[in-house]
Amino acid sequence: MDLFFLRVLSNPLSFPFLMLVYFCCILMILVKLTKEMIASCKNKFNTILSLSIISFLLSSSLIFYNFYNMPKAGFEIDDGIYAIGSFVLKNSGVDNQNNTKVFPFFPCSEIKYHEKSIYSVSLRSLPAYSQSYVQCFIKPGFESIKLENALFSLFSSVLVGFTFFMISGKVTQSLFCSSLFNIIPWVHLMANLHPEGSAYLFGSSCFLFAFYYYLIKKSFLSYVNLLLSMIMFFLSWAPAFIVLPVSIIGFTILVSFYSKSDRLLMLRFFISSVLVLFFIYIGFHEEYGFKWNLGRAASLGCLPGLSPFDYQLIFEGLKNNWHIYLTDYFGYLSPEFLFLCGDGNLRHNSGFGGQVLLSLAVAFYFALYFFGTKKINIHYKILFLYLLITILPYSLCTEGYRTAFLHLPLHAMRQSAMIIPVVLIIMVGLVKIHEYNKNTLIFI
């Protein structure tokens, strides 16, 4: 066994240990859900089901097609520092900057030549330790970074499929939903970018999946899974510092308001979530890595007054720039960004239309129309709310290339968490279109 695993097992409160527990937990849940899926389609194996399985396998394999030959879209140094930092953490258990804590929650990475540091950054725990795990199975470097990104995308697609299964209860639709996720240009771009972006996408899918599972199953396992998924999400990338707390508040209010029977459940969720975030903050707010993450979010204009915290500055920023923030916010929902042109930066956009395939535009806006006009169930409400929340962090940000028509600084990479609700909403739209047109060939 690799020494890294032994070191992880002997540090049960470290992040890589929590990752192991989380993966065991999610594996158990996925096995359970797969059994449910198999049970629900027993004696119903037909052409559509086999087609959906084939489409899922085919679309997943396309993430790995021409894998090592595609030029990487990110800065080489950003990839390099992750690979080096994770390599050091894997082999020594500490980072090479602040080497006192074993497997720190906010590790740093330094590039050193002849004992002198020439470049240093703070790493995010989820992508950094995932890279350490990947390096246990593949040689460290360019290949391990690429593989990590692709695996994050693949795991996200699986979780998206299972999330849709919980919403709809239909196996075929959930498999098509996973396939849909895999073929979206935005997902392919994320699989070719930095580990942080794809980790954020993965964290977002983990959190949403865990929340639905908790709401539906109400079991102890679902509760543990939810808490762990929140930690994974929170430590995936800086935008999660905003998305997660707002989601906790938003979900609690929404579910408590619409589903009286779940109020106790939501109270437990809210208290535990606040405690988890409180302990992370109390435990780590003095750490260099935590300050670095927060400071970077603030320096990008993501919220003036965030670091150091100044309530008045935040309020003034919101008051003076509300119209800019609002335009940016709705810019992310515009057809121009999603379906026509996308992010102006070719690192974040394939140059072929928008972030999502143009042919899915009708389904997306139809679903939004459906959400707005019909009486919808709580699952769709959560989905819609999550979409609105994931847009939040970088609509408050002035960083990003100007888009073609609207000239808004929209940043597709930093909004990768948004892909999850967008795909699920598109799938809802496709299903609803199908329901309205059962006798036509639109959905076949």
Partner: protein
């Protein structure tokens, strides 16, 4: 479904054939650096009296040789890494004959020495520019 299928096929055709060209023309993440970094490592291993200067991202040399760098050396910057210097480092030793330079083009040779010889030069097959990466020896 037919529409989505067609849209997907056109997208993949574009993504795998056209996108790499567009990407290479706007962004420096040259695959050639991988090749020359690995070559530089092998030369340094054979002749430890040489120094390597780099005009590439700071991480390139370690990143592309990470699989054969001693973890302890990566931690402290010792071992083979003590022979590697940034070209912009003002405290670097003076480049001498037979020293190596790892470059990402465009490159100004006057930063080190005018007498240089290319040991290996790569060009980015996707990019429309002639810029590439190279490993240079000082004569």
């Amino acid at each position: 479904m037919i529409l989505i299928g067609l849209n997907t096929i056109i997208f993949y055709n574009n993504y795998f054939n056209e996108y790499p060209k567009k990407l290479s023309n706007i962004w420096f993440n040259d695959p050639g650096i991988r090749i020359v970094s690995k070559e530089a490592y092998e030369i340094l291993l054979k002749s430890p009296s040489r120094n390597l200067f780099f005009n590439t991202p700071e991480s390139s040399f370690i990143y592309h040789n990470l699989y054969r760098i001693n973890p302890n050396d990566a931690f402290y910057g010792n071992g083979i890494l003590s022979m590697v210097f940034s070209i912009d480092d003002e405290t670097k030793p003076l480049p001498k004959k037979d020293d190596l330079i790892l470059i990402q083009e465009p490159f100004d040779p006057s930063k080190t020495s005018n007498k240089i010889k290319y040991l290996h030069r790569t060009t980015n097959k996707y990019a429309s520019t002639q810029y590439g990466a190279g490993l240079i020896e000082i004569e």
